[in-house]
Amino acid sequence: MKELLVISGKGGTGKTVVTGAFASLAENTVIVDCDVDAADLHLLLSPTVKEAHLFKSGLQPVIDEERCTRCGTCRTVCRFDAVTPKLSISHIDCEGCGFCANACPEQAIEMIENVSGEWYISETRYGPFVHAKLGIAEENSGKLVTLVKQQARSVAEESGSDLILIDGSPGIGCPVIASLAGVDCAVVVTEPTISGLHDAGRVIEVAKHFDVPVKVVVNKFDLNEEMTQKTEEYCRNNGIAVLGKIPFCESVVRATVEGKTVVEYDHGEAKPAIVKIWKTLEEELGV
């Protein structure tokens, strides 16, 4: 069984569109959405939820007003400014470290389990789909990503799948690092802009840092052919394979509006380009 992750560094380069297209081309696959912060893949896959579970992200302090003598120790020790001058907890700022609870001389602070999201195992027209929804303004997206990936692995083992296909999140921080763990290959979808190359470069560095092999796809390559060349040059100089280039194509948005993947939507030049990229990838991964 292989694990394939699609990431981008910069947001909005077409990561989810590409993952959706791969999902409709791959066979015997478990599909995973690790962009738990702003998940979108379900909009293309219209999943039927089979199982829903609460995500417990960690502990959060609750002050027992009866016991509290208003000494202010919690506010002094907290490094995240999460205890307000009126000595109430600002949950938006709290990192759940528990320092306040341990330091409170009256033992007036209890750490209680915080439910900060949900995760699901669903069925789609392309196979099982594991996804999640992080609550609004919640933390610990990295932990939720790790959980979702573990679940996907057990679903894949049960169903004897050949591949786990993962849609990652933008950026290079904790959810991205969590999504990189243990994957066989990361496909970086970039766009031919200075920002796109800059950001792809950074996420490629992160993947290398964690020893994950990287391949690149240039999306909307014809919007700036010069930048596309620069991106290819960058890849060549860094020993990274460019899997292919996808032209800018209005049908991509139209397909999305209809809740279809580019492969299902039979118009435009984007589809053949993605199909070709998938074939190459399939061969290289050996699935």
């Binding site: 991205v176 920002s195 800059h198 996420v203």
Partner: protein, 281 residues
């Protein structure tokens, strides 16, 4: 006044809007808080005058004093410190720098030492003051670095914050304390889905906001209907033009590539001022 520019979905044009808005305001400061993937500098090309490494404090164990009592590991909820036999090990990448271990160590065996997670650079370019943060590759935690960028805020008169995408801690840390937030979106199902999430975040944080719809002529009209239904003011609509996309790809701000946009961004600024004023009275 602090105006944040945010977006649930990445790549909707947050940086385009933040940079162009900053460029039409006199006496303004632009803070790029997207420390994972900072892009504003590409459009501003600032001359950097100050560089500062940003550390978080992590524990260092004095083996001589440590009695392996295990108090440190029992107070660390992140499993960043562990006692194995007579050795106390620190896993710096897991440490959030909360300081609990050194505070509770009964032997005074824990000293806190800085570990750099990124860099803040400050300077100026195109007539504005500029600050951004660059997270070190392989670092998971961006909020401490975002806070370091925000310490450069000089509220007078206007600070524009380019926030990272998403709805979780990095975004919250970036937009916290803003007087107004501009949400940039695009009229596609992805854009709308992520806009709805951002709206929930802002309502929870009680920050007044409005929407800018980028590439307004692609996709469908559902985003506009949603905004109307939710009474979210649409501050500006920017159509898809190859010349705008091409200028963006080369790092040229839209107000420079298409001069009529200067006026449009001035209008955007005026709408923000008006809405923000209404909110205060």
């Amino acid at each position: 006044m602090i105006i944040a520019v945010a977006s649930g979905k990445g790549g909707t044009g947050k940086t385009t809007v933040a940079v162009s808005l900053a460029l039409v305001i006199l006496e303004v400061q632009l803070l790029d808080c997207d420390v994972e993937e900072p892009n504003s500098h590409i459009f501003i090309r600032p001359a950097i005058t100050d560089t500062e490494a940003v550390p978080i404090l992590v524990p260092k164990i004095d083996e001589e004093k440590c009695t392996s009592c295990g108090r440190c590991s029992s107070v660390c909820v992140y499993n960043a410190i562990a006692v194995l036999g007579t050795h106390t090990l620190v896993f710096p990448e897991l440490c959030h720098g909360c300081g609990a271990c050194s505070y509770f160590c009964p032997e005074g065996a824990i000293e806190e030492v800085p570990r750099n997670i990124g860099t803040v650079e400050a300077g100026s370019g195109r007539g504005l003051k500029f600050v951004h943060g660059i997270l070190n590759v392989g670092e998971a935690m961006s909020p401490p670095l975002i806070r370091a960028v925000k310490r450069h805020t000089d509220k007078n008169p206007v600070t524009i914050i380019d926030a990272p995408p998403g709805t979780s801690c990095p975004v919250i840390t970036s937009i916290k304390g803003s007087d107004f937030c501009i949400l940039v979106t695009e009229p596609t199902p992805f854009g709308l889905n992520d806009l709805m999430l951002s709206v929930e975040v802002l309502r929870k944080m009680r920050i007044p906001f409005g929407a800018v719809i980028n590439r307004c002529d692609i996709g469908n009209r559902e985003t506009v209907s949603y905004c109307k239904k939710e009474r979210i003011p649409i501050l500006m609509e920017i159509p898809f033009r190859r010349e705008i996309a091409s200028a963006y790809s080369k790092g040229i701000p839209i107000v420079e590539a298409v001069p009529e946009y200067r006026g449009r961004f001035i209008d955007l600024y005026k709408s923000v001022l008006k809405l923000q004023g209404m909110n205060q009275s």
